[in-house]
Symmetry: C2
Subunit: 116 residues, 2 copies
DNA sequence: TTGGATACCTAAGAGTTTTAGGTATTTTTG
DNA sequence: CAAAAATACCTAAAACTCTTAGGTATCCAA
């Protein structure tokens, strides 16, 4: 149960949105949360996630801070004010794209909220 | 006015859906129709279109036939029965993905149909 | 004690699209 | 009427993003 190559171009948006909603999160946690929220439909691979997080950090959209749990180091990410602006732009752009595709492909979406 | 890299992975779906709805169309016509239907928001580039049409033909999703207008050759494409099955699958997959993203990003969409 | 989950990471490859060309005919416009 | 713009086809290199496939190491449960 995965929705394939459509995810392309939405990864940054998903990460930023999660960070905006949930405060600080670490990489592995993000993959698990997305998996759980989408009932295994979207599975972010670590090979895609970590480079993207590093990029977002370099761009100033998120900030990282490490925390040591036992002997293990966790890297927590927080969204910056710049990131909050970006995420709203990206979500709006996505919604606009959805409406365009809805018209072009002529389909309806669920009214209620539920990731079946 | 374009909605950037989100289009990735939707090109085949858009082409097949247009061919299913409108009968035979030629390449250039497809780019113009999409542009017009989406109010310039989605602009299919020819560098993406032609290779994709050739691929769809090789896969048996569409069939091509040439027609000569004056001294110019036009290549008309028609969707095959196999293509009709494929387009329904692809649109369903896309809608499913949209609903998942709608939940994940928590947004609402327009109720009415209008590519503003 | 060993397998699975947690937790981080990188690099090569694959897939799709953009960019940037090329050719040629037809129509519009100054 | 000449030049520009639109029509109409095409390909190849580059760019971008993600997957695949590794690597390391800790923690917990069977």
């Amino acid at each position: 149960m995965y929705s394939s190559e459509l995810i392309k171009g939405t990864l940054k948006t998903i990460i930023l949105k999660l960070l905006k909603n949930n405060g600080k999160m670490y990489g592995y946690e993000i993959t698990q949360r997305v998996k759980e929220l989408t009932n295994n439909k979207i599975q972010i691979t670590e090979g895609a996630l970590y480079p993207t997080l590093h990029l977002l950090e370099k761009e100033g959209e998120v900030e990282a801070e490490t925390e040591t749990i036992g002997k293990r180091v966790r890297k927590y990410y927080t969204i910056t004010p710049k990131g909050k602006v970006t995420v709203d732009l990206k979500v709006n752009e996505f919604v606009d794209f959805m409406n365009t595709m809805k018209f072009l492909l002529d389909f309806e979406l669920d009214v209620g909220h539920a990731a079946k």
